[in-house]
């Protein structure tokens, strides 16, 4: 019995000494393994000037090799005069993509099944530190910069960003959010401050003149009466475009219309070389003698993914027709517009031949 106790004592002594030997990680008072969070965490852009009514993703955080993931939190949102600003952080319904839109969808339902409406803050910082202003942020929810173009500090929404990981907490301070009012379509003929039709850039003081949207492409159009090429330049605009809403649609229509110099509609069938089925990613095409219209999903284009309907992030609608020219040569005329429409509704895109009608007859 005695010897047993002796061994027990010896054994426990040995175990204890081994324990002290092997448990020495703490003994050496080593620095702990923790995340790195840089002192130089920053954003390249701290003054955020998005346009309301469309989804804007800002340039990401400059992480300076801090250990990811970081936790982000918008704190201390206030107007420049110190009053709290919470309007832009309120929830609103916006679309969120759950599957990739690739332009090959065959129905509106298929498109709609790839996105869903969720309620989330109109302005948020996502898990990667990107600031996102959702399309749900409209001018009536978030007051844009003043129409008189005089920006006062109390019009600016300031906020700070808190970043943290196990290495510590950093603040990036004094972000400024100065939104532009909604511009429902692009290219624009509107004044960005007021949202009204802009004056002619060449004669801004002349109230009789206005800014126009010009077609992106205009090749081979010949005037019916003048027999010279139709052109657009600073002095003369033969073909202009209006993007406007119309009444009587189902809420998601897109209509193309062509007006002659007298303002009468031109029959779309005259544009005989147009690929009407690939004009836009739309469905249920309806062709009348005055217009062509489609059921579409808004915004147009849905994403910046390059599809057969887009070019450089905008939807491209091309119209063309051909006729016999001098010497029996077939002349091809093409015009079209690269555009975006952000707001859901019944929109029509109108091509107006202001000065001369296009020549359709053979020579």
């Amino acid at each position: 019995m005695m010897s047993y106790i002796k061994y027990k004592v010896q054994g426990s002594m040995a175990a204890l000494s081994l324990l002290t030997l092997f448990s020495c990680d703490n003994m050496y008072n080593l620095p702990t393994d923790q995340d790195f969070i840089s002192e130089n965490l920053t954003y390249n852009t701290k003054v955020l000037e998005p346009i309301l009514g469309r989804t804007t993703v800002f340039t990401p955080l400059n992480v300076d090799n801090s250990t990811l993931p970081l936790q982000f939190e918008i704190v201390n949102a206030r107007f420049g005069d110190g009053t709290p600003a919470t309007d832009f952080l309120e929830n609103a319904e916006t679309y969120e993509w759950i599957d990739e839109y690739d332009g090959r969808e065959t129905s509106l339902q298929e498109i709609e099944s790839k996105r869903r409406l969720v309620s989330k803050p109109m302005f948020e910082v996502d898990s990667g530190g990107r600031f996102i202003l959702h399309a749900s942020a409209t001018s009536d929810r978030i007051l844009p910069r003043p129409t008189d173009s005089v920006l006062k500090t109390q019009d600016i929404r300031f906020f700070d960003l808190k970043l943290s990981n196990s290495g510590g907490v950093r603040y990036v301070k004094d972000f400024q959010l100065i939104p532009w009012r909604e511009m429902d379509y692009d290219p624009t003929d509107l004044n960005p401050y007021t949202g009204e039709i802009a004056p002619d850039p060449a004669n801004p003081k002349d109230p009789r003149k206005r800014a126009y949207i010009l077609p992106s492409i205009m090749v081979g159009l010949v005037g019916d009466s003048t027999d010279v090429n139709l052109i657009n330049n600073d002095q003369k605009k033969d073909l202009v475009v209006y993007i406007r809403q119309f009444q009587g649609g189902n809420g998601h229509k897109l209509r193309f219309k062509f007006l002659d110099k007298k303002g009468n509609p031109i029959n779309p069938a005259e544009f005989n070389e147009t690929r009407w089925d690939n004009l836009v990613h739309g469905f249920n095409r309806e062709t009348t003698s005055e217009y062509v219209q489609y059921d579409v999903a808004y915004p147009i284009p849905l994403t910046s993914f390059n599809t057969v309907y887009t070019m450089g992030g905008r939807a491209r609608a091309l119209f063309s027709y051909s006729r016999m020219g001098w010497g029996g040569v077939r002349q091809l005329a093409t015009f079209g517009l690269d555009f975006r429409i952000f707001k859901k509704g019944d929109w029509e895109i109108v091509f107006h031949f202001q000065n001369d009608n296009p020549k359709f007859d053979n020579d």
Binding site: L21, L30, S38, E39, P60, V63, N65, E100, T303
Partner: protein, 1046 residues
């Protein structure tokens, strides 16, 4: 004559002092069984002189004065002192067999021999028996034999060495880039026969070194080595000063030790075979695979049409394109090599001599490489009595290396050539193989010639007080001549020549005092100083466009084609002086205290800290000497506890770091100016790196020495590490050499030695040792905030991250999480609706690798890197197993490394071979079978490796980019280093032929490596854990040898 006078005077003095008379004493020495013991040395303790050795039957006869104490000594037996009474004429002495390996073991501390039992530091001793029977470099023979010494044989290049680290990481300096980036070598200090040698001097330029680069350790024939001692903790190393910050390895060569002259001849004849080479698809298989790859993955008609414009794909009826060239086979070969070593030694305690002549020749397994060594080591010891000792020694070594067109460790040309398409060479002009011509016909000769005379004299002034002085001068000359023929170098031959010389004048003088009071209190004081003068000067010549292949020199016909050269910047002229004091006190050999202090001054230090100071302290308790333990634990043959602390200070300063560098640049008053180089700001406050270490150790020998165990635990802090700080661009200078970084290494070492069976004919010895070392980065320069990333400028982009609180050397890579099985698996950005994409805008799709989007922006870029892995091994160790049955010996030596991350760049390169099936000329690569890999092939496959055949992705997504964790693999391996089978012929049989000893043996080296690693060899990787596909593979060796003495 002078000695004789001194001797006589001393004798007289002794004689008078004892008033004694001479008498003759006859007697016998017996062992415990009563058998006579021959060869026992009988020593007169009062004079310290050996009087006689006993006859084979144990009898002896000496003439002594009365009242003398005689000491009887024989290896393997406990010494016995006998006091001879006045008038006594006969004496029978019984010697008891000593406990194995305890009393006899002697260690070296500060160039003085001390009993191991009283040493407080952590050290290991290997003997000639541990490293015999295998031809090869000395260092690789030590692998796995010492716990805490991590040796990686990571190159098979003849004449070069792998890496050696004692107790973990001691540097943060990485040189080179990409796969070739290596840790600055921190090899221990080698002390060869009392002279320190810097083993890293050949490798301080990284893998792309200039000059021969032959490891100084390759120049020592292992046959000539008597013992190797490895000092690990700071108490042991601090006496060696600033050079010893990475540990010390003391190598002693054999010395004369035989009354009858003895001739010993060792021969090894060995075959080296290359490892298994890469499997390739040859000839028509290659063409068909490439065509299939194009048909299956082409995105445009243009790609299909391009086949018509690619002759080796479309012109299959051309006989030339029906080659199936096995390029690798042209570079690699199996070689037959040999080594011869002849030594002659003889002498007695008064005069002994030794001559060792060695020849070693190795033809590389890569053609046009090889190593030859010629070495001699002559030594003479003269000791007329115990007071005077004199040693003279000359080393002379000649090493010849042929590196081919590589740089020794790297064989880039061979690696690239081996990847050529099997359809090559093409019709009409055989130049597609310029890599081959370059590898095979480049004439490369490297010579290193070393000569080192050494003399040492020693005189015992008073009993116990000894003055020793030693002087050595080493001269080594290195040359390299490379001639590249025109066909291998764009139709113009070229020449490279390197000439270097290095000298070391070294002198050491020491004063030892040893005194024992009442056989209880023992003190030992060792005071010594060292003086060193080291010089080095290397210069090179590059001459391009030499006239033709016939004219290979002399050169210098046209400066226009000179491509520079001149003096290399590793010029050195250092003068150093050191003073050291070490004291040791023990009480009955039970309680031991060691104190030591050393100062090192060097002309390389700044004046601010001319001398570095290295203190150390150590304690030891030998429990087995305690009476109460002897009673209670008779099974305890040895039980000691050691504790030590010490500091090694190593200067970082160079003239350039302290004073800056001045270059010829700029103008002043239209005169050429000399201005400071803005690359590095001078830092006169640069502190020396301080390595302090605590060690706690336990030595145990149990059950009549059947089991012995050595355990050590340590904490080593390497402070003030050199770390280049990149300065703000407004400062003007680019880099500040600062020393605000620190690493801690801590770990455990265990060596267990078991002799389970030891009866008569059969002996079995088994040892296992292992070390666990963790390193933690303690600090970085403050303004980095705890993390620094060393961006790799190479395309490979395998970056290194240093983060405080974590293992020091981690990779900074993209995290690979598999392969996208289907297109739908690629995540979609909910805000933009776009798929995850590369920064070039190309969307990921099925078959592409999944790289974690760390920053959540759905774009893969360098913000998505993460810290991962640890390139340094956590566990290293080895095993030895030896059976002896009668005259047969079977030994198996193994080593292991565990818990280390290696980057399989070789596989990355192999997978990427499919990147361009249209490649022509140099881009026309071989294809390899990928059946064995878990690779994505069709939608729905869940795989590890991305789709290699999708050549259209290779430029956009780069699925096989190097900077990803896909290549991170566990570098754990268990290697059987050697298997040795030896037979000793019976002495009685041999004596008929006049032979004394004949031993024949067969051995295998680098037998087999067990590992999960998917690459060729988990050991053949750089110190940063990167598998170099252009490295030199480690061959397997089959050896037959014999060892003959007469």
């Amino acid at each position: 004559m002078k000695n004789k006078i001194i001797y006589s005077v001393l004798l007289l003095w002794i004689g008078f002092s004892f008033h004694a008379t001479a008498q003759t004493l006859r007697g016998r020495v017996l062992d415990t069984d009563g058998k006579g013991l021959g060869g026992v040395t009988v020593i007169n303790t009062s004079t310290g002189r050996a009087l006689v050795a006993t006859e084979p039957n144990g009898s002896f006869s000496v003439s002594i004065t009365s009242n003398t104490t005689l000491l009887f000594k024989l290896v393997g037996y406990t010494d016995k002192r006998v006091n001879v009474q006045r008038g006594q004429t006969s004496l029978t002495v019984t010697l008891a067999a000593s406990d194995q390996g305890i009393e006899e073991v002697v260690v070296t501390r500060g160039y003085a021999k001390r009993p191991k039992e009283t040493s407080t530091g952590a050290s290991n001793i290997l003997t000639a028996d541990d490293i015999r029977d295998v031809p090869g470099p000395l260092e690789s023979l030590l692998q796995g034999k010492v716990p805490g010494m991590n040796i990686q044989v990571n190159t098979g290049a003849p004449g070069y060495r792998g890496t050696t680290q004692i107790r973990g990481l001691s540097t943060l300096t990485i040189t080179g880039s990409g796969s070739e980036s290596i840790l600055m070598p921190t090899s221990p200090l080698y002390v060869i026969d009392g002279v320190p040698l810097d083993a890293d001097r050949a490798s301080e330029m990284g893998l792309q070194q200039q000059g021969p680069g032959i490891s100084p350790l390759s120049m020592i024939p292992p046959e000539d080595v008597e013992s190797i001692e490895i000092l690990k903790d700071a108490q042991a190393t601090s006496l060696y000063g600033s050079l010893a910050a990475y540990g010390v390895i003391i190598i002693n060569t054999k010395r004369g030790n035989s009354e009858i002259p003895r001739i010993n001849y060792t021969n090894n004849t060995f075959i080296k075979t290359p490892p298994k080479l890469r499997e390739t698809l040859g000839g028509n298989l290659e063409r068909r695979l490439k065509l299939q790859q194009i048909y299956g993955n082409a995105l445009t008609q243009e790609d299909i049409d391009r086949i018509q414009r690619t002759p080796h794909l479309s012109d299959s009826l051309n006989a030339y394109f029906n080659n199936s060239t096995n390029w690798q086979d042209l570079y690699f070969q199996t070689t037959l090599n040999q080594s011869h070593n002849l030594s002659v030694d003889g002498g007695n305690r008064i005069l002994s001599y030794k001559a060792n002549i060695g020849y070693y020749t190795e033809t590389g397994i890569i053609r046009n490489t090889g190593f030859d060594r010629y070495s001699t080591n002559l030594r003479m010891d003269y000791s007329p009595d115990s007071k005077i000792r004199f040693t003279g020694q000359v080393f002379a070594q000649l090493g010849k290396v042929n590196k081919g067109d590589g740089t020794g460790i790297l064989q880039t040309g061979v690696a690239r050539g081996g990847l050529s398409s099997t359809l090559l060479p093409p019709p009409s002009f055989y130049l597609a193989s310029s890599d081959y011509i370059s590898s095979i016909s480049t004439k490369n000769t490297n010579n290193v010639r070393v000569i080192r005379p050494y003399i040492e004299g020693s005189y015992e002034i008073l009993t116990g007080l000894r003055l020793t002085s030693a002087l050595s001068y080493e001269f080594s000359s290195s040359t390299e001549d490379t001639f590249t023929p025109a066909a291998a170098s764009n139709q113009f031959s070229k020449v490279y020549s390197f000439a270097g010389r290095e000298t070391q004048l070294y002198s050491r003088s020491s004063l030892n005092y040893m005194k024992s009071f009442n056989e209880e209190h023992n003190i030992f004081i060792n005071l010594f100083n060292e003086v060193r003068n080291v010089t080095r000067q290397n210069s090179v010549i590059h001459q391009h466009r030499t006239p033709n292949d016939i004219f290979q020199g002399p050169l210098g016909f046209d400066g226009y084609f000179s491509r520079g050269g001149g003096l290399l910047n590793n010029f050195k002229d250092e003068r150093a002086v050191s003073f050291a004091l070490s004291t040791s006190y023990d009480f009955k050999r039970t309680y031991v205290v060691d104190l030591s202090y050393r100062m090192d001054g060097s002309s390389g230090n700044g004046f601010g800290n001319l001398y570095t100071r290295n203190p150390a302290i150590g304690f030891r308790w030998n429990a087995h000497h305690e009476e109460w333990i002897k009673e209670r634990a008779p099974w305890l043959n040895l039980g000691s506890v050691r504790a030590s602390w010490g500091i090694n200070v190593m200067p970082n300063s160079t003239l350039e770091r302290v004073y800056g560098r001045y270059n010829i640049w700029g103008n002043y008053n239209q005169q050429q100016g000399i201005g400071i180089d803005f690359g590095q700001i001078p830092n006169p406050n640069l502190k020396p790196t301080t390595s302090s270490q605590y060690n706690l150790g336990i030595d145990l020998a149990l059950f009549n020495n059947k089991v012995d165990l050595v355990y050590d635990t340590y904490y080593k802090k390497v402070d003030n590490l050199l770390f280049d700080q990149f300065l703000n661009s407004s400062v003007g200078f680019h880099v500040l050499a600062s020393n605000d970084a620190a690493i801690a290494n801590y770990g455990h070492e265990l060596a267990l030695n078991i002799r389970p069976i030891n009866r008569g004919d059969f002996n079995w010895t088994f040892s296992i040792n292992g070390a666990l070392n963790r390193d933690v980065l303690l600090k970085l320069p403050a303004h980095y905030g705890g993390q620094f990333i060393r961006w790799d400028g190479d395309n490979n982009g395998q970056h290194v991250v240093f983060r405080v609180g974590t293992s020091t050397l981690s990779n900074y890579l993209l995290l690979n999480e598999g392969v996208y099985s289907r297109d739908e698996d690629v995540p979609i950005d909910p805000a933009t609706g776009l798929r995850y994409r590369a920064s070039s805008g190309v969307f990921f799709e099925a078959g592409d690798p999944i790289w974690a989007d760390r920053n959540g922006d759905y774009i893969l870029d360098d913000r998505d890197y993460a810290r991962t892995g640890n390139s340094q091994p956590l566990i290293t160790g080895g095993m030895q197993n030896t059976f002896n049955y009668k005259n047969i010996q079977l030994s198996i030596y193994a080593s292991f490394t565990a818990k280390r991350t290696i980057l399989n760049n070789a596989l990355a390169e192999r997978m990427a071979l499919m990147a361009n099936p249209f490649g022509q000329g140099g881009d026309n690569k071989v294809v390899v079978p990928l059946d064995g890999y878990d690779m994505w092939r069709q939608p729905g496959d869940v795989a590890k490796y991305p789709y290699a055949y999708a050549y259209t992705r290779s430029n956009t997504i780069q699925p096989f980019r190097y900077d990803q964790t896909l290549w991170e693999e566990n570098g754990t391996y268990f290697k059987i280093n050697n298997i040795i089978l030896a037979y000793n012929f019976n002495r009685s049989f041999l004596s008929r032929y006049g032979l004394q000893r004949l031993r024949v043996y067969g051995s295998l080296d680098n037998v087999v490596t067990f590992s999960e690693y998917s690459g060729p060899n988990p050991e053949n990787v750089t110190s940063m854990g990167r598998d170099l596909s252009n490295g030199y593979p480690v061959p397997r060796t089959y050896n037959l040898g014999l060892n003959l003495s007469f």
